[in-house]
């Protein structure tokens, strides 16, 4: 087995059993019977091991979906929904791990161990947005639209928070949450609502600063 896979599997096993990551690279390598040289050949730090772990999950999921037969026919909204539903379905295998690593996180903020997870998601999200612009589902908005992937990432993290707190049978409430929030989000980015909000913020911000100084 190649070292990358060995490291990832050992790291996952440890997280599952102990609920915490290994303390040091040295201790981790010892338990694996691996030299530090071999470890650092694959990963720069323990955080980057975990980053790869979550990142591989998202990239595996998106690759599988993008190669699916129906993907090409789907609108941007349906692509995003399909991703989120596939994610919640797949999360059943990851739920206990996610509870140890995600449940204390706020939906904003980027911990180092989620770097690849976030990057993969944002690349996927900008593909969805470009598709939405080409089909007219998402309004063109110049530089402002570069923020969309970041906004979708916050939404995605909110879905994860909801999912981890969901106590309903077979997590059905999460399905409803996804359906309703995505419908709302795409209603907003299709219209001028964001422009108006941005305009209002620009109008209010200087006077607010003026009052503070």
């Amino acid at each position: 087995m190649e070292n990358r896979t060995r490291i990832l599997e050992a790291y996952t096993a440890r997280l599952r059993e102990h609920g915490t990551p290994p303390h040091t690279v040295l201790a981790f390598c010892k338990s694996l019977n691996l030299s530090e040289r071999d470890f650092f050949h694959e990963f720069a730090s323990l955080d980057s091991v975990e980053s790869a772990l979550w990142g591989d999950w998202i990239s595996g999921l998106t690759t599988r979906l993008e190669n699916g037969a129906e993907w090409k026919e789907f609108s941007a909204r349906h692509r995003y929904l399909t991703f989120l539903f596939a994610f919640t379905e797949s999360s059943l295998d990851w739920r206990s791990l996610m509870l140890t690593r995600f449940s204390h996180l706020a939906p904003v903020g980027s911990p180092p161990f989620l770097k690849a997870f976030e990057e993969h998601f944002k690349v996927f999200a900008s593909d969805i947005i470009s598709h939405g612009i080409s089909t007219g589902e998402v309004a063109h908005r110049g530089p402002l639209q570069t923020l969309y992937p970041a906004v979708l990432y916050i939404h995605f993290r909110a879905v994860i928070s909801f999912l981890l707190k969901d106590e309903s049978q077979r997590f059905e409430r999460t399905d409803a949450f996804i359906e309703k929030t995505v419908a709302f989000a795409f209603d907003v980015i299709r219209t001028q609502a964001i422009d108006s909000a941005f305009d209002l913020a620009r109008f209010l911000a200087p006077s607010a600063w003026g009052k503070m100084s």
């Binding site: 309903s168 399905d175 409803a176």
Partner: protein
């Protein structure tokens, strides 16, 4: 945030939304009285319409539970001013559709497969909405199916919403909780049952098998192998929507025959099976050739032999001339209570006599022409009169059996459908009924 807190904030949001409706209704009243003060007259009907729209808008913003609550309040016409009832009747057409990915997700959750792995073809767009879900058309091996898919989490949100919304709704609509408590319980039970697709499948298969011998009535075949907690699959039925047929140019002979099939279907269920389809709504029927197709068994009601005997004792023609018998029948159903004063007794008896004369009218002559709209409007008027009757409101106590709600709703629905059909049909007294 703990789960408890998140539930509470979710409830608070909903309460805030409802309080908003209450406030808007209040503002409408202020406008109304303002207009009255200026012009000396005001259009009370218009005010009611406006309030109904406000309340309805809020209910439909909240979807789920409040929407069903609105429907349940509109069931009993006498509880609601007509303007509200009209707005709420729209409710079942305005639920948001499920997206195709959510339908796929539901299939994967229920069957572990995509709909297109199960069927040869599956339409991504819903063919039509059902009360708490939607219907897709699918085919397999040349056979067409109607696949009904339920909104996820609808049962849970229904339960929590009803608890929160009930007191506020009572407030907005001006009803007294104590007097309708048993009625609410009954309606809640039926509404929650409607979310149970496994029960619906059992009822549908049971009722359609039991009624298959009736002439001019058809049922789709149900497919348990493609059904689950959230999905019901049945044969696709081709035909004309009931309201389109009724409002169209169908010949009188066909109207009478479809009307007769409808009447016989209900008579058999209520009097022989004592288990009946309690939602006679035009959306639940199709007309195909010379047959009536029954599509939806989400709402069914069982009554026991004792209740059936007490309830249909009111059809005894002797009740109209024999006050002692009428009083006995009313006491057996707790319409009259031992604590009533003689004046209250007289008032209730007069009212009961009047309702009976009207509602039992089709049974009196053995045949009845529903083509005369005067009959149905007399029923509406009676409901409206009872609602406005202050003496009646002043009479306290929980009266009548909760079992009558769905029976009344069924007869009310049946009479409405027959009136819409303008059918002239045979309406014999149920056989086997013994009047002592």
């Amino acid at each position: 945030m703990s789960t408890q807190e998140s539930i509470r904030s979710h409830r608070l949001d909903r309460m805030a939304a409802l309080a908003g409706a209450g406030a808007r209704v209040g503002i409408n009243y202020l406008k109304h009285y303002g207009r009255q003060a200026i012009s000396g007259r005001a259009d009370s009907e218009a005010l009611q319409e406006q309030n109904a729209s406000e309340v309805f808008r809020t209910f439909s913003e909240l979807k789920g539970g409040p929407l069903k609550l609105a429907q349940m309040l509109s069931i009993d016409q006498s509880l609601l001013p007509p303007a509200y009832a009209k707005q709420f009747a729209r409710a079942q057409y305005s639920a948001p559709p499920l997206s195709y990915p959510l339908v796929v997700r539901t299939f994967r959750r229920e069957f572990g497969k995509d709909p297109r792995e199960i069927f040869d073809a599956f339409e991504p767009q819903a063919a039509h909405a059902a009360s708490i879900g939607q219907v897709h058309r699918a085919t397999l091996g040349g056979r067409a199916f109607a696949v009904k898919v339920q909104y996820p989490g609808v049962a849970e949100s229904l339960r929590s919403d009803l608890g929160v919304v009930k007191p506020i709704a009572l407030q907005i609509l001006g009803l007294r909780e104590r007097d309708v408590a048993a009625h609410f319980r009954e309606v809640e039970t039926r509404l929650l049952e409607e979310t149970d697709y496994e029960k619906e499948l059992r009822s549908a298969m049971h009722l359609s098998a039991a009624c298959t011998h009736l002439p001019h009535i058809r049922f789709p075949e149900y497919h348990p192998e493609f059904s689950s907690r959230r999905v019901i699959t049945m044969d696709w039925m081709d035909g004309e929507a009931f309201d389109v047929f009724a409002d169209g140019s169908a010949p009188q002979v066909l109207r009478d025959s479809i009307g007769q099939a409808l009447w016989d279907f209900y008579a058999y269920q209520i009097h022989d099976l004592r288990l009946f389809h309690a939602d006679p709504h035009p959306g639940n029927f199709l007309v195909s050739g010379d047959s009536l197709c029954v599509l939806d068994f989400g709402c069914t009601k069982t009554i026991d032999a004792a209740f059936h005997a007490k309830q249909f004792a009111f059809l005894d023609p002797a009740l109209e001339t024999n006050p002692a018998r009428l009083a006995a029948a009313m006491e057996s159903m707790a319409i009259l209570l031992p604590s009533d004063t003689p004046a209250q007794r007289a008032h209730l008896t007069a009212l009961c006599k009047k309702s009976l004369e009207l509602l039992a009218r089709p049974f009196r002559t053995g045949h009845f022409d529903f083509g005369d709209p005067a009959f149905m409007s007399a029923i509406y008027e009676l409901g409206e009169e009872n609602r406005r009757n202050d003496t009646l409101r002043g009479i306290r106590g929980e009266r009548g059996s909760a079992d009558t709600i769905y029976l009344n709703r069924t007869f009310f629905g049946l009479y409405s459908l027959l009136t819409r059909l303008r059918a002239h049909i045979q309406t014999p007294l149920p056989t086997g009924l013994v009047f002592e």
